[in-house]
């Protein structure tokens, strides 16, 4: 998993937690991650950054969320709704994403 190239964008309005998430999401040898803390800027970031996975944590509010989901669906970006804050569930979610990607290949 850690050797599969993945471009992440992580969104969380809790700045200390976002910093930790970005650090975790750079752990893979070929993982890149950009952190965004303002949902209004998220779609612009996605438009300007090659993204495989959007990790959404605290602050994922409407109507932005629905717009983002539509944008991601149209641009082959997988969304992980991340609960729990840290790494306990995150690697599970990434593994599930990779499994799904493998099955659809």
């Amino acid at each position: 998993m850690l050797h599969t190239p993945i471009n992440f964008v992580a969104f969380n309005t809790n700045a200390p937690i976002l910093r930790i998430l970005v650090r975790i999401l750079k752990r893979g040898a070929s993982w890149e991650c950009i952190g965004v803390s303002e949902i209004e800027k998220l779609q612009t970031t996605l438009q300007n950054t090659p993204t495989d996975v959007l990790v959404i944590g605290v602050g994922g509010k409407e109507p932005y969320l629905s717009e983002l989901e539509a944008y991601c669906a149209n641009n082959d970006i997988h969304i992980i709704h991340h609960y729990g804050g840290g790494s306990g569930l995150l690697f599970n979610s990434i593994q599930a994403y990779l499994d799904q990607k493998e099955q659809t290949r």
């Binding site: 605290v58 609960y83 599930a96």
Partner: protein, 239 residues
């Protein structure tokens, strides 16, 4: 009624020396796509922490986190200024909501602490974080299920932001009882803490579990003296 059996020996296991953990569901380095959750129940970790050791400061958000010490004492500290010791016979709940940092250490320098850590997906995201701990009713009173957690602040036990109810009890050999599921569309995850039970036709030993859904009642029977059971009644769907 539908059911899924989770034998104790088929749980994920991680022994880090200071921490010996068994995961009922996928967690950290343990990944089993067949064991991601039981409805809103996402994590049930059966942890043993060495004396003086523990989990350093780390974050959580958007999760209802419940700790139940089975033996020994846990020392809790969090970013809301709470500092407390949680003992056997107590229960702790954190609504992580918009974010909380906390640490949990074995308060003893000589004895292990054993506890269950349970994560429930919240009913609503981004709530104000909160921390609570309470003394449980006398669970040694045999042959009675005690409600130790609910969604209602005014009800028995501690409360969380989800339509979930936890019941615990210790039973004499041969005692039978029924449990009424609290809400339509909820299921029940029955976890044997000690001893053995027959639950809906299945024999379960220590740390075995069975998930049951599409039913409004669960029947169980204790197969040996001092058998302890935890029933986790949770919504089966995200709504």
């Amino acid at each position: 009624m539908k059911q899924v059996l989770h034998p104790a020996g088929q749980r994920g296991a991680a022994n880090h020396g200071w921490l010996n953990s068994h995961h009922s569901f996928s967690f950290a380095n343990y990944y089993n796509p067949q064991k991601m959750n039981f409805g809103m129940l996402r994590v049930l970790n059966d942890d043993t922490v060495a004396p003086g050791m523990g989990f350093g400061k780390h974050p959580h958000d958007n999760m209802e986190i419940i700790s139940i010490p089975l033996s020994g004492d846990l020392e809790h500290e969090d970013s809301m200024g709470n500092k407390a010791i949680i003992k056997e016979g107590e229960i702790q709940a954190m609504s992580a909501g918009t974010g909380i940092f906390h640490s949990e250490y074995n308060a003893s320098k000589t004895n292990e602490v054993k506890f269950l850590q349970i994560w429930i997906f919240p009913r609503e995201k981004d709530v104000t974080p909160r921390y609570d701990q309470i003394l449980l009713p006398d669970l040694s009173k045999a042959n009675t299920l005690h409600q130790v957690l609910s969604p209602n602040p005014d009800d028995a036990g501690i409360w969380v932001h989800q339509d979930t109810w936890f019941n615990m009890g210790t039973f004499d050999q041969g005692k039978s009882q029924s449990y009424d599921v609290q809400k339509a569309q909820n299921g029940v995850y029955a976890f044997v803490i000690d001893g053995s039970f027959e639950i809906e036709g299945q024999t379960l030993g220590k740390r075995d579990a069975i998930g049951l859904w599409e039913t409004d009642k669960i029947d169980f029977k204790s197969l040996e003296a001092g058998s302890r059971l935890l029933l986790i009644d949770v919504p089966m769907n995200f709504n």
